[in-house]
Amino acid sequence: MIRKDMLSIKKLETIAKDTFLIVLASNISVDDVAPGQFIHIRIGQGNAHLLRRPISIADVDQANQLLTIIFKSVGEGTTQLSKQKVGDQVDALLPCGTAYPIAGLTMHSALLIGGGIGVPPLYYLAKQLVAKGIKVTAILGFQNKEHVFYEQEFQALGDVYIATNDGSYGYQGFVTDVYQQVQPDFDCYFSCGPTAMLKSVTSTLEDKQGYISLEERMGCGVGACFACVVPSHDGGYRKICQQGPVFPAKEVALS
């Protein structure tokens, strides 16, 4: 069940350009956290920042009650977060949103397609899939060489193809370009990244079963304010923070 927790920073490191990894410790069990979910982080104290920032959970260490997040400093909140110190407390709502529904799926191989800061949630997903004996292939896209992270970590779990916009590392082009070249075999795909990427991924893989994870500016983060909706193909809408961020690829209409 969703809760407010004060997490303490155990580790904070820069893992790529403007990209930070933070390991957070909880005082209680985090066994209920599943891949694809996010934590909703309060920045600062008092009224400095009224809106929390959603950041995906990149990894979970159940035994030690640790959560890993990976994020890019793009604005005030993430920059402030990147300047915290080990030992500082982070006020977070968790676990938020839906997870990749791996329990109910029968498959042998999975394709993970991540772009930029959409890569982190796929890591914990990959670990869980591999733990279930599912073969994992990852195609990860980044702006350029300086922004690449977690290549080795994914390699430890399966095949990894890296794409950079400018070709400064790995394949040149978009993740969908790499897909066309590599043509990996898979039963189900999981994708997270910028909306433009997701649109091209879902249309490229139109006849495949897949799940995508969406981003949107959020108010409450818990389903109460309707800030974060996306139209659904049934003529209605879905709240990304509560009914997402993970959706079956065919459920929602990307614009």
């Binding site: 009224n47 009224l50 108010g219």
Partner: protein, 311 residues
């Protein structure tokens, strides 16, 4: 300390309720705490049909405030009555339903449905939503239209009607007088101020709707001023809101003339804010020399001693 307060149709154990649109239909926050702690709950605006609302992005953060342009997204009044109200009604906390529309007829229909739903204790008539192209705010900025829609909505049911005023007006007192004359049982103020934020990178307004409603601590001085002015001019119960984040803020609203308060944006920052404020209220009231909640209402007005509750 006695925190109870009586308003027309509402007997509240304490004066703190979540504001409309900031608490959905309540159940999300039931995961954080027992909703029976709340004085009341004002649910998200209802319209006749399901509405999708505006394109996203719909929210932006400003300096100690936020902008929103949800655009009255909601599942439609019948869905609300059927699916959203029943779970909430299980709590022993009065539900106030927020009524919206594009035309007077839509307001009437929504009010008729909600006002005749047993679990709804009162209506909040939203004539102040700045985020929809049609209806909404024009009813809240023109005294004649405000009068008309209030009167027509009042006629739909016997539950009390609190009219939610827009701060985007030259003269708040005139509007307040118009809706009071039309039979409003109380006022709810203030809704958001219309604002905009431009993204320097994209060179476009951040909100897809361009403009949005400004809420949070940034609007508190304006809310306090408007409530104070209306309280000087009229003897009508007021649910005050706009930037409340702590018990001291609640007291400031009470002194200005509010009889109860609603908390909006602060729920996003801290989902426990309402019960935390309720817990802090007795000490805060005592610290400033009050023996009860009722005791503080309107006390910011010189020589003011009226008990403004009408119940």
């Amino acid at each position: 300390m006695n925190l109870s307060v009586s308003l027309p149709g509402l007997s509240l154990k304490n004066p703190v309720m979540p504001a409309s649109g900031c608490f959905g239909f309540g159940m999300e926050y039931s995961k954080f705490y027992d909703l029976e702690q709340l004085g009341a709950i004002i649910i998200k605006a209802a319209t006749e049909e399901m509405r999708y609302g505006n394109a996203t992005p719909r929210v932006a953060e400003t300096t100690v405030g936020m902008l929103n342009a949800i655009g009255l997204q909601n599942p439609g009044v019948l869905n609300i009555i059927e699916k959203e109200v029943p779970p909430l009604a299980a709590y022993n906390t009065p539900i106030i339903a927020n009524v919206a529309g594009s035309t007077i007829e839509e307001y009437e229909l929504v009010a008729e449905k909600l006002g005749n739903t047993e679990q709804i204790a009162a209506l909040e008539l939203n004539i102040s939503c700045p985020n929809v192209k049609e209806g909404g705010v024009q009813f809240g900025t023109d005294p004649d239209l405000a009068y008309e829609v209030t009167k027509r909505v009042k006629a739909q049911s016997s539950v009390p009607v609190y009219v939610k005023l827009s701060p985007n007006v030259t003269d708040i007192v005139t509007i307040a007088k118009a809706v009071a004359a039309a039979g409003a049982d109380g006022l709810s103020m203030i809704n958001t101020l219309t604002g905009m934020q431009i993204n320097l990178q994209s060179r476009r307004p951040i909100l897809a709707n361009q403009v949005g409603g400004l809420s949070g601590p940034t609007i508190k001085p304006i809310a306090i001023r408007m409530i104070y002015q209306v309280r000087e001019a009229l003897d009508i119960p007021i649910i005050g809101m706009g930037g409340i984040t702590c018990a001291e803020d609640v007291l400031e609203f009470l002194l200005a003339g509010a009889n109860a308060v609603a908390v909006g944006t602060a729920n996003f920052t801290n989902p426990f804010i309402c019960p935390e404020i309720i817990t802090a209220l007795p000490d805060t009231l005592a610290k400033y020399g009050f023996n009860s909640l009722q005791d503080a209402i309107g006390k910011g007005h010189a020589h003011e001693t009226t008990n403004l509750s009408r119940a």
